[in-house]
Symmetry: C2
Subunit: 317 residues, 2 copies
């Protein structure tokens, strides 16, 4: 069995590199001390995020392909939420020495599939490979604003339309199913998860292999979005961030409790001036009002400091 420990870093990288997605913006790729990436408008957008075995994923549930796909998708989504076009990623991975090289190959395939499907032209320009007792994935992603101002969380104005693109509550539904029925004797179980994925393919895929609407970030910026973010911690909680940053209230209409609470959808929540056609996959789910906080059909659902997910990281079982 060929493992990270027996093969060594250079040989592993020689097998993994050819599988990685190429970045159109890459001017100099892996192999030197650093890469060089184009930033045509003289700025670049950057975001970084780690996924840790245990709190963030379970190997019994997530295939290595899924991990690569999700690591890329969630970071691409943060770039899209600024109204930028993703250009490149760097990926650092730390894994136990006994990790098989085909695990890393499948992980690279997942990175490639996510870039190809969600944001063609974006690719991996560099990375790092280390040994660790805890499988850890750190992705940093870059984007091009194409001359536009970034879309912040602070620009929403009373009268704006509140709209979302992407799924709502599905990823959380998938996680709930996995915790309830993807375990055997209290431990995450691969066979049980595979059976669940056959029965409930949509929510399980939304959790393990999310497909955020990356191109809608750029579309929203061009359409004039006044505020936008990636819905990672749940619609209500993320909406409160726009409300706080913009000094407004957000009132959702006809959105269910599960849709308001569900984390990890990685859709885009945006505010638009009234009366304009909503771009891409955006559909209206509320309005911006004078005031503070978040409401649902006029009922206040958040107070000062309200935080229904404090301490919930998807990792308690």
């Amino acid at each position: 069995m060929t493992t990270l420990g027996t093969l060594g870093e250079s040989a592993v990288l020689a097998r993994v590199f050819p599988r990685l997605p190429a970045a159109r913006a890459q001017q100099l790729g892996p192999g030197d001390d650093a890469a060089v990436v184009a930033a045509p408008d003289g700025r670049f957008v950057v975001t970084t995020d780690m996924m840790i075995h245990g709190p963030d994923f379970r190997l019994a549930w997530s295939a290595p392909f899924d991990l690569g796909f999700k690591a890329a998708a969630t970071n691409l989504s943060d770039v899209a939420a600024m109204g930028a076009v993703p250009t490149a990623l760097v990926v650092a991975l730390a894994a136990p020495a006994e990790t098989r090289v085909d695990f890393l190959e499948a992980f690279a395939d997942g990175l490639r599939a996510a870039c190809d499907e969600l944001s063609p032209g974006a690719g991996v320009v560099g990375g790092d490979l280390s040994v660790s007792a805890t499988l850890t994935i750190a992705v940093t992603a870059f984007g091009d604003l194409e001359g536009r101002a970034p879309v912040l969380r602070s620009g929403a104005r009373p009268g704006d339309v509140v709209a979302v693109s992407g799924t709502l509550g599905l990823a959380a539904e998938g996680l709930r199913l996995l915790f309830e029925r993807g375990v055997v004797d209290g431990r995450p179980d691969a066979a049980a998860a595979a059976e669940l994925a056959r029965e409930h393919p949509v929510p399980i895929a939304a959790q393990l292999r999310p497909h955020p609407p990356i191109a809608d970030g750029r579309a929203a910026a061009i359409a004039g979005a006044t505020a936008m973010l990636d819905v990672s911690d749940g619609l209500a909680r993320d909406a409160s961030r726009i409300a706080d940053a913009s000094g407004v209230a957000i009132d959702f209409s006809g959105v269910s409790a599960a849709e308001l609470a569900g984390a990890e959808d990685h859709g885009l929540l945006a505010c638009f001036p009234p009366g304009i056609p909503l771009p891409g996959g955006f559909r209206q789910i509320g309005s911006v009002l004078e005031g503070t906080g978040v409401l649902s059909d006029g009922e206040r659902i958040t107070g000062s400091g309200w935080d229904p997910y404090a301490g919930w990281d998807g990792g308690s079982d």
Copy 2:
């Protein structure tokens, strides 16, 4: 005792953010989905590197300030090795829930000190904070080429002068001392390491808190360096990378075996056309010849596939 687990991510970040170094190139900093960084010449240099508790450092030996300092310094050095000026960093840290907040504050102070001392103007523009069983630090660093071509490993030509800036062998000497005399009953020991640091401050500091000559990267590029890299795996091994990439031989003159072997100095090894004044702290230590591989005073010290550090990661005890 205030820990990461009891205080929660937002409260921890509120205490850590004010201690982070500001980046002159920052156009939008932490607090949104992504940061925005200036890239004045329409490109940016990017490198990423992880440090893992166990293989890469021991908490009994490294104070949190040291970890922050070294994490920044080693990444800044990779940027400098391209001939670029470091502009910004993003820093992801994953730590056990029982980690004290003052650990993170001291880590942030180390990041700040490294940027202020080694590369004024560079700073932290974003990051991520996670819980993990294994303390893990992932830094991604950016640089500005100021309109110049990057200095690669592949440009050395026969006749060039081989020069180095920074320490040689000191960091490895510090690590040897720590493994020999910084342990009690076979385990890394804080008191023994503190005593060692009093007796041998220079090599211990070179290992735990390296001060690579960051500004000399830009100086080398301006002076016309034909090839350059960061000396992280030892002078001989890193020189073989320039030799291989450039299709030349490198012959060192009057360099000791310890200087040829010592890893983690994070100095800069560069080749310059003959007859030009060497910039900054560079001093000549050899010449580029026709041929292949690495020699010391005319004696070949590397063959094909020679790799004296295979499997040595500083972490076996």
